[in-house]
Symmetry: C2
Subunit: 201 residues, 2 copies
DNA sequence: CCGGGCCCCTGACGGATGTCATGCCGGGCC
DNA sequence: GGCCCGGCATGACATCCGTCAGGGGCCCGG
């Protein structure tokens, strides 16, 4: 019997996935949680065979939770399951010690299958995404550029960003200019959108 | 026996919701589709009692599909089920003839319940969302302003927007300025974000 | 028919933004 | 130590943007 922890912030989806997995004769869902902190806590306490984590969750996201679970309960294998196939997510998930990565677009049968494969030690990765990930490569953005771009994505003015990061007006403009160049965009809004799509934020 | 059509673009979620609904003794899922056009076609052909539609779908979104189903198969009651509780969505859904509106955050039991209530002629609306919807009110944006703002949300320059809508530079700036004023924002990026959050796009 | 709302355009102004050149500092690396 | 890279900053310059004050055209309701 494979024990599974399901973490997703949307109660309806969380329940539906759990129900579906529970119907499999060799799988048992031992916990359902709605955020990353709770996922880590439950993984440590219950030590399930597999943790199925959504990326978008309150308090601590799936990527961060994967890293902490990997560190505190290495026996628990992690599958990241997300809505968006951002290439950058895949890279970060793997770097966090995840064993599987699937998108919510996949056929339903694939989920139980992925759980079984991962439980047996194999790695499961969406092939389309893997290719995209390689084609885009790692983020060319520097740490500071990422921070600045993230802050600018809110839509505020340069001065707002500068104030929130304790930087000078001009410095923010420099970082943004650099980020715009690296993403191939022409405005900071477009740069933010592109970086987001590629999972660079 | 209540017959249900499930439409959601994410195969995994679609399958999971269908499985969960199918476990109810008085509910039968008669079709699963992945986009709005297919939903309309299936609703007309199979004439289910209830259609459960996600908002975000390719080709035709859930709101548009609701309107067409309501027009072509008035006997089929529609529930809009969405990830985001945008106040504007609720208003548009109701205007499209939907009978129910729930967010994917709701507890799982509520789904089957909503299906039964709607099938029996009642209306089901998330109370939190209803309040928000009333507090924000209808979109103050004019048709053109909405178009311009939507185009500007891509992140391009003013000239890009002007070109794509066959307008003058200055006209676009005027519309944007007006939209910025009405949303209470300070840049077009922020205006786009706020309008999006409120379901005004 | 006249007012008012929306759409489209023009022109101008001040401030915001993107780019570039340049400099200083600190950390890793040969 | 010398070197390169990244972060931070300054200053200057050419645009771009947001705002305002107009004006003309259209359609609808009073």
């Amino acid at each position: 019997m494979i024990t599974v922890l399901v973490a997703d912030d949307q109660a309806l989806v969380r329940g539906a996935l759990s129900t579906m997995l529970g119907l499999e004769s060799d799988i048992e869902v031992v916990a359902q949680v709605g955020d990353g902190e709770a996922a880590v806590e439950a993984a440590v306490r219950l030590s399930p065979d597999v943790a199925l984590l959504d990326v978008q969750m309150p308090r601590l996201d799936g990527l961060g939770a994967a890293a902490r679970i990997h560190a505190e309960r290495p026996s628990c294998r992690v599958i990241i399951c997300t809505t968006f196939g951002r290439p950058g997510y895949l890279a970060r998930a793997m770097a966090s010690g995840a064993h599987g990565f699937i998108v919510k677009d996949s056929p339903p049968e694939q989920l139980a299958d992925a759980v079984r494969r991962v439980a047996s030690g194999l790695r499961v990765v969406d092939p389309v995404l893997a290719a995209e990930s390689l084609s885009f490569g790692a983020s060319p953005l520097t740490d500071r550029e990422r921070e600045v771009l993230k802050a600018a994505a809110e839509g505020g003015t340069i001065r707002d960003v500068a104030k929130s990061l304790r930087l000078t007006d001009g410095t923010v403009r420099n970082h943004l200019s650099s980020a715009i160049g690296k993403t191939g965009a022409r405005t900071r809004a477009e740069a933010a959108r592109l970086a987001e799509e590629r999972g660079w934020l």
